[in-house]
């Protein structure tokens, strides 16, 4: 059976800020059914549609350049597919950009290595001592923390961390078993109870020959 692979770049916006990863998956499945995309399915007793969403967004975080890979059973024109999907998006999904991929192209789990997060306080400004805290965090060799009862070192998962005006920028690793979460970084900075607005501006992918690219260029 022929399989055709497409990579879709999209934004997850305000209406879906609090929609979790599994719910986002189901929303994509329904979106593609509404768009009448001829999805390919896995074999077996309970076939699943071939949909793969790049690194899960934490609850409460929006995403500007998120990725989803799909496989179809029939070849679809990129323009037609883009139009069909864009017409069927629910509130909270927008900016659909589609590219066709070669059949054996590696999946997102092999390509995504990091994410760029931008965080601002919901109201007012950051605490005045934030720059010093960032400095000392970056200076430390380890940041031992616990998440869901498992101990881990947060420090190697922080690739960069800087304050630009009121925007706290962080590049965090997004690899299997080494995922940095923006709320964990905030907590390590002593701001776990401060209400913030967070968005992921892009995913960072390791393309052929180790070249790093931002997901926004894929559209």
């Amino acid at each position: 059976m022929n399989r055709y692979k497409y990579r879709i770049l999209f934004s997850k916006t305000e209406a879906m800020r609090f929609t979790g990863h599994l719910d986002l998956f189901r929303a994509w499945e329904r979106l593609l059914r509404r768009a009448q995309v001829p999805l390919a399915y896995s074999s077996g007793y309970h076939p699943h549609p071939k949909i793969q969403i790049g690194a899960a967004l934490p609850l409460g975080v929006t995403g500007d350049n998120e990725l989803v890979d799909i496989e179809t059973a029939e070849e679809c024109g990129v323009d037609a597919l883009t139009r069909q999907i864009a017409e069927a998006v629910p509130p909270g999904v927008s900016d659909i950009r589609v590219t066709a991929l070669p059949e054996n192209y590696p999946g997102l789990e092999k390509l995504v290595v990091a994410g760029d997060y931008f965080t601002v306080p919901l109201e007012g400004a950051w605490p005045a001592d934030l720059p010093q805290k960032i400095e000392s965090l970056l200076a430390s060799a380890n940041l031992l923390r616990e998440r869901r009862g498992k101990a881990y070192d947060l420090r190697p998962r922080i690739l960069s961390l800087a304050l630009d005006g009121n925007q706290l920028q962080m590049r965090l690793r997004l690899e299997p078993d080494a995922t940095g979460r923006p709320d964990e970084v905030l907590s390590a900075l002593g701001m776990e109870s401060l209400p913030v607005l967070a968005r992921r501006e892009r995913l960072v992918l390791r393309e052929s020959e180790g070249k790093m690219i931002g997901s926004e260029v894929l559209g």
């Binding site: 609090f18 509404r34 309970h46």
Partner: protein, 631 residues
């Protein structure tokens, strides 16, 4: 507090609560209309959390009908879970609608559905969180009108004092009358009292304040009748209150709101038939939803097609009380196969008769292997089946499950009912034996992979059923029967699910009670009772003390065989089925006589005489109540 303030506070509190998308709205197909230019504003409130309430078909039907009207808007309201309630209280946020985040108290009318009794305290809690006085008598000119509906309302009395009006029966056309009355009120500025008089004049609407129950000294009811002295505005107060029906099923919703969050029934549901001709004597729905009305095959198929394009759902449920009795069921299944075969749509067809043809029907709709198949034999001995009026030959059941397992369904779910006062230990033991016999069939086909899940509920003698005169089993007897089942229905491959007796008894008290229960319900709520349908939240102690403080013995409602001439709290509600017919059915049950399907012979239940004019106005092919030759 206004909607902008609520929207500003939510981003601060939502990250701290479980499943925050319960509280955001913004889903596909939600309807947001302009508040200022839409005169009639209705909040549709399901008194439990989003996850449960979003699956309610009745409110989805009303939502689409109301929002299709240019002069009206409907928004959804659900209860917050306790974490969110705490956060809302801390921030001073009242109960709000999901669409425009308006306080519930800002709407003109709040429609609260009461599909089952364990939501009653939640309905009070919702009013409390909305800042609306609980009792209708305490509300002023500027409070929304609080209107109830749903199957709980077929005995309206326990909740009567909390509602300005209760809609008895079907809402699709009644809601249009309500919209008109609200619009008139806003245009004319008439008083709340004048409006409630208008409401009382709508077919199917019960305004409890215009009726008063009178009691005999032994506590039984002498009568519930319109209050004569409440002036000339009261002349139209109907008695009895005849339930509302629609002569033909209106088109179903085709653009339901699609939740992002996983809900209990996350699928497109479509009613294929309303009413039932079977007459199972324990079944309230089978009596109160008469007459039978079928949706045409063509409309079912085209509505599903349209709804799937609008929602993207991967699953459809075809709903009715008895799918096998849908007269064109084979044709429907064939048509669905032609239209949706190969589209990987899951189609569920519940409530089938226990016969091998049912297995063929479900097989034809099947999209994956394995899974479970549900049957509801209700009883396991011929004598109990005759009492319940659900006759099924044991051999036929065994042949059906053989067919089910041989086609690789691995689990058979069996629903049973215990608790009839005439039920013996042997009847209960037979349930366990039947479950084991079914499992043995499964083992023959599938070996140790075969399973049987037995769900055993306890009979509640509900209003408007032939069992309404009956006493319930006592707590002790129910416990003894359940213990027997626990001992006998066990072992590898067998699973038993029992309803705790306290839950059933409370449901029965609220289902069979009268207007004096208002104090009990309010006291229980004050003592912290809410989410009574959630086993981890249910507080029998709060209810126990509420009954004591109100000096009401719950056994008065549930533990007493009632005399043939006792006036029931719900007798002024006419569902179209005559009390003397129900009594004849009750007596037949005591003699172990069964009744057939009323498609074959008319037993004169009364529905046809109640609604004859409506029926005669319909074209031949749409007439409800099948044409039968006089027996």
């Amino acid at each position: 507090m206004n909607s902008d303030t609520i929207s500003r506070i939510l981003p601060r509190i939502l990250p701290q609560v479980e499943k925050p998308s319960r509280y955001t709205g913004g889903e596909l197909n939600q309807s947001i209309k302009d508040w200022d230019s839409t005169p009639v504003r209705i909040a549709l409130l399901f008194p439990d959390i989003y996850d449960i309430g979003m699956s309610n078909l009745g409110l989805a039907v009303l939502y689409e009908i109301i929002n299709a009207r240019p002069e009206a808007l409907a928004e959804r309201v659900y209860l917050p879970w306790s974490d969110m309630e705490t956060a809302m209280k801390r921030e001073g946020i009242p109960l709000y609608s999901l669409e425009s985040r308006r306080p519930v108290a800002d709407f003109d009318l709040v429609g609260i559905t009461l599909p089952y009794e364990s939501l009653y305290t939640n309905a009070l809690h919702a009013l409390h969180l909305a800042g609306i006085p609980l009792r209708a008598a305490e509300r002023g000119e500027n409070h929304p009108l609080i209107v109830g509906g749903g199957h709980g309302v077929f005995n309206p009395e326990p909740m009567a004092e909390f509602f300005d009006a209760l809609a008895v029966g079907e809402g699709e056309e009644l809601i249009l009358d309500l919209i008109e009355i609200i619009r008139w009120r806003k245009r004319s500025g008439e008083s709340r009292l004048a409006t409630t008089h208008r409401l009382a004049g709508i077919w199917g609407m019960y305004v409890p304040a215009f009726y008063r129950p009178e009691y005999y000294t032994d506590g039984t009811i002498a009568r519930v009748a319109p209050i004569p002295e409440s002036g000339d505005g009261n002349q139209g107060t109907p008695f009895p209150i005849v339930k509302r029906i629609v002569p033909r099923l209106p088109p179903p919703p085709v653009r339901p709101v699609v939740p992002y969050l996983e809900t209990v029934h996350n699928r497109y549901a479509i009613e294929i038939m309303r009413g039932c001709t079977r007459g199972c004597r324990f079944c309230q729905a089978g009596h109160v939803t008469r007459p039978i009305r079928e949706r045409p095959v063509e409309e079912i198929v085209s509505s599903i097609n349209l709804a799937l394009r609008n929602t993207g759902y991967e699953e459809v449920a075809l709903l009715s009380l008895s799918s096998s009795d849908y007269s064109r069921i084979a044709e429907l299944v064939r048509a669905l196969g032609v239209k949706f075969g190969g589209s990987r749509l899951r189609i569920s067809l519940p409530s089938l008769r226990i016969e091998t043809v049912s297995v063929d029907l479900v097989e034809a709709l099947r999209s994956s292997r394995g899974g479970n198949f549900t049957l509801a034999p209700e009883a396991a001995t011929d004598s109990m089946r005759a009492i319940l009026n659900k006759p099924i030959a044991a051999q036929q059941l065994i042949e059906t499950v053989r067919e089910i397992y041989s086609r690789k369904w691995t689990t058979v779910k069996l629903y049973f009912m215990i608790g009839h006062p005439r039920e013996t230990k042997a009847d209960v033991r037979a349930i366990a034996e039947l479950a084991r016999a079914v499992l043995a069939e499964g083992r023959r086909s599938l070996g140790r992979r075969a399973e049987v899940h037995a769900g055993v509920s306890t009979l509640i003698p509900k209003a408007h059923t032939p069992f309404q005169w009956m006493a319930m089993d006592s707590r002790e007897r129910i416990l003894a029967k359940q213990d027997l089942l626990r001992r006998e229905l066990r072992g590898p491959g067998l699973k038993l699910d029992l309803t705790p007796p306290d839950v059933t008894l409370l449901e029965a008290e609220l289902a069979r009670g009268d207007r004096r229960l208002a104090n009990v319900i309010e006291r229980a709520w004050q003592a912290g009772a809410r989410f009574d349908a959630w086993s981890d939240r249910f507080q029998p102690a709060a209810w126990h003390s509420a009954f004591e403080e109100s000096r009401i013995d719950p056994a008065f409602y549930t533990g007493r065989e009632r005399s043939a001439d006792e006036i029931f709290p719900w007798d002024h509600i006419n569902v179209g089925v005559r009390k003397d017919y129900l009594r004849r059915e009750y007596e037949a049950s005591l003699e172990g006589r069964t009744r057939g399907d009323c498609r074959e012979e008319c037993f004169g239940c009364g529905i046809l005489t109640t609604f004859r004019e409506l029926r005669d106005a319909l074209p031949e092919e749409a007439q409800f109540c099948p044409t039968v030759r006089p027996g």
